[in-house]
């Protein structure tokens, strides 16, 4: 098991190195933006990572709500996965916002604009930061239930973020995937997109697995402490 874990680490680092190499030195520069367009490969990798891990957070939160009174162990595992996925999603969202801003400055001439895509993304970021703050500072047995409900409502912003460039006229360009005619990338750039998607998802999965183990053990320790406290009170 330990060997498998180290193998996963090595494969992930290899994927990241290859993704960096392809993005920087293999695919051609953009015809209009030139070299600066290469930010896109980390930018899209981060957004896809964010979407995947917020979706995992949503699924785990629903599982928690379903099992919290029926199967405590399963509910605890789901809750541990929910917090691990939310943290990773927020990290990817931060990277997406920062790389987007650094890309916008030379291309649009501004660091930030309050268009629908950027604003809805910032709202999404703040929702999940609030979710993590709730988990960090709220006390009592209802905290996990509240967090799970908040995760479900928070995820409602994800489709709004995705659809914002179709519903409104935004400064941000149309989606690369399923964006319709005149949207998307030249096929020669796709290797960099796929390598970065796979590499960053592997990185995210690796850290979420590690974080999940810590969160689950924390919950077991809390449960044991609560049981011991009950025994002391009972005796």
């Amino acid at each position: 098991m330990k060997l498998l874990r180290w193998l996963w680490v090595v494969v992930t680092l290899g994927l990241l190195a290859q993704a960096f190499h392809v993005a920087m030195f293999v695919v051609p520069p953009d015809q209009t933006q030139g070299e600066i367009q290469r930010i896109f490969y980390y930018h899209i990798g981060s957004w896809c990572g964010m979407s995947v891990f917020f979706a995992i957070n949503l699924g785990a939160s629903i599982v928690y709500l379903v099992y919290r009174n029926r199967n405590t162990q399963r509910a605890m595992k789901a809750d541990a996965l929910a917090v691990a996925a939310a943290e990773m999603g927020v990290v990817f969202c931060t990277v997406g916002l920062v790389t987007g801003s650094l890309w916008a400055r030379p291309v649009w001439g501004i660091w930030w604009t309050w268009d629908e895509r950027l604003t809805s993304t910032l709202v999404l970021y703040l929702i999940y930061v609030a979710y993590l703050l709730l988990r960090r500072f709220a006390a009592g047995p209802q905290m996990q239930t509240l967090a799970a409900v908040m995760a479900i409502f928070g995820y409602a912003d994800v489709p709004i973020v995705y659809m914002s460039t179709r519903w409104w006229r935004t400064q941000h360009p149309a989606p690369v995937f399923f964006g319709g005619p005149n949207a998307g990338l030249d096929p020669s750039m796709f290797p960099a997109v796929w390598w970065n998607l796979v590499a960053w998802l592997a990185w995210g999965a690796l850290i979420v697995t590690f974080r999940y183990g810590i969160a689950y053990r924390d919950q077991l320790a809390e449960q044991n402490a609560a049981l011991r406290a009950l025994e002391v009170t009972g005796s």
């Binding site: 960096f20 920087m24 030195f25 520069p29 070299e35 600066i36 290469r38 930010i39 980390y42 930018h43 981060s46 943290e87 990773m88 990290v91 931060t94 990277v95 920062v98 790389t99 650094l102 890309w103 400055r105 030379p106 990185w203 850290i207 590690f210 974080r211 810590i214 053990r217 924390d218």
Partner: protein, 38 residues
């Protein structure tokens, strides 16, 4: 003239920022793991 993309300031900043944020989070997770073990 071929310009090495590694010399583009905003590109380097964006890639560096991405790694700093990701590695910062990894450091937080490792610190949590060490605190649990300790």
């Amino acid at each position: 003239m071929i310009v090495n993309p590694m010399f583009h300031r905003h590109l380097v900043l964006a890639y560096t920022a991405a790694w700093v944020i990701q590695l910062g989070y990894l450091a937080y997770v490792v610190a949590k793991w060490k605190a649990r073990k300790g």
